[in-house]
Symmetry: C2
């Protein structure tokens, strides 16, 4: 049996079963990040590896690679409701790579990390055939404030930050070499994403958010993860989804299905979360202060799976999203 026969999810499941937990391990393999009890607080840690050929569309600059390596890791910290502290990077570089590009990459890593209140504090260098950036981020979460994928309960509201679909539409434009004009923002969403760090902290501090996950794979696939880990049914209301207007325009003009971006497109790095109805107003107020859009898109109920209500009809959403590991 080969790796390609079983796929990423099965391998993660093996890892989850094989790796035993310890007395201080609050959250182990299977969430956005791990959480370890360090007396009074949780140390939250995550790792994400980006491999140039697989993860970066041609034309991505070294600075954009650096930016994305920081953001994908901080996004996981944000999804746990933790305050980021530091980042460390194991970087594989081809011998023939220009030193100027390496410096551009480092400068951007430093700048972006600091813009989120975190610091690049260490790393390891290796030689490799293509650029590999394996980042790890760590932060602190308050006890009782940790956001996981497993706390959603029937009756909770489902909400998501920002607008949907821009990053994957941007990827489509880049991969298919579609003229960028008019869609600059979509391409930028793909190449220069941001992490919802302040938003994650606001959710944690609200005290009424029961689960959270960042939309790395897709709204559908990440909702499926919450459904499986919380053992609940997630029901979306299609009409309530806040889809990026440029994504709609792009889809219509090209005869593409907007759902492929809004529901099944990855890398928006928004926060999909569930919240007790009594806490929704407070979350809304916090987001107004942050200037970040947040939309109620559905409700948690008993059962399993992810469903969407559209023109009165209820359909099961396929567990499909953007995965780098095929």
């Amino acid at each position: 049996m080969k790796v390609s026969d079983v796929g990423e999810r099965a391998i993660v499941e093996f890892a989850r079963r094989i790796c035993k937990s310890g007395p201080r391990v609050k959250v182990g393999i299977g969430d956005d990040a791990a959480a370890i009890d360090i007396d009074g607080k949780y140390l939250v840690a995550t790792t994400d590896m980006l491999v140039a050929e697989t993860h970066f569309p041609r034309g991505t600059t070294a600075a954009q690679m650096g930016l994305k390596a920081v953001v994908v890791n901080l996004s996981d910290i944000a999804a746990m409701g933790a305050e980021p502290l530091g980042l460390i990077f194991s970087v594989g570089l081809p011998r023939t790579l220009s030193v100027r590009l390496v410096k551009d990459m480092m400068r951007e890593m430093d700048r972006v990390a600091r813009s989120y209140g975190a610091y690049v504090v260490g790393g390891d260098l290796d030689e490799s055939d293509e650029i590999i950036i394996a980042g790890a981020a760590f932060g602190l979460a308050k006890k009782g404030r940790l956001l996981t994928r497993s706390g959603a309960r029937p009756g909770d509201l489902i909400a998501v930050t920002g607008e949907l679909g821009a990053a994957s539409a941007g990827l489509k434009i880049l991969l298919d070499k579609i003229p960028v004009r008019g869609y600059e923002r979509l391409v930028r969403a793909q190449l220069e994403p941001r992490a919802r760090v302040k938003e994650g902290l606001a959710l944690a501090n609200s005290g009424s958010v029961t689960s959270a996950i960042d939309t790395t794979d897709s709204l559908a696939a990440n909702a499926w993860q919450v459904s499986r880990m919380s053992r609940v049914k997630m029901v979306f209301d299609y009409e309530k989804l806040l889809i990026d207007p440029a994504v709609k325009k792009f889809s219509h003009s090209r005869g593409l299905n907007v759902d492929d971006f809004a529901l099944f497109g990855g890398e928006d790095f928004e926060l999909l979360f569930t919240v007790r109805p009594s806490g929704w107003k407070k979350v809304q107020r916090a987001f107004r202060r942050l200037g970040t859009a947040v939309t109620l898109i559905g409700r948690v109920s008993k059962g399993r799976g992810v469903f969407i209500r559209r023109r009165g009809e209820m359909k099961k959403l396929p567990d499909r999203g953007y995965e780098h590991f095929v």
Copy 2:
């Protein structure tokens, strides 16, 4: 200017200059691991990436790769005098790799981590042409107990744990396809190293150890790092070095220079440290309890560089060691 023109050390130096420090950053880029002040303690974090083609001699099993990925990271935690808590791994796997090997690797990672009191708590999977294991480890160090590379002072004694040269002699045997018989221990030292975690904690708790580093690159190269970062001169006494007897036997039988292993060979993962003379007895006693050899091999003095006294003659040691990044 290309990466290969400037080399690893120059790139690390760029990173050190580019990445700004923050108020909580006690130790940033340039030491075995980073240390961040988290109120009352230091969070210590490190990352090390292993790339199959570069880091593992042909014939290394998947389990041995897993073991080494854990040990190289914990060794950095040990060198800071920290207690390890957890490990996370970004792993790149070829599509055609056998799932059984992946499971072997994971089982060994879990087993080895736990044998040091740490847990594998998370990871990321990607597709890659060869096996890539980017690990990150984190732990806690007590305030006032952190061991860095920069605290050595003139008058301190220099000591090192264990015996020298086995891992690099083992590597030579594997790379040159020399019959292993009689040298099984050397080959095992290469393929299945251990981290000096308890020893690092004992050094930290002694209260008199002024600097520490793990001998990843070589005794010489790692001493040079201490010399540069502590701004001192390190003087070794050749006669006092505890060289692995099998390394001596192997070198003599093959007409090889034993110094190439004992002084310039990498991956022994011993702890090279400096200690105030008044604290040496206590360190010795602690190591007797641990059952780990520890040897006084020299003295710190004013000046810079690494020197060795041999048959009354003093020579400067070249700053040479085993580096994966050429």
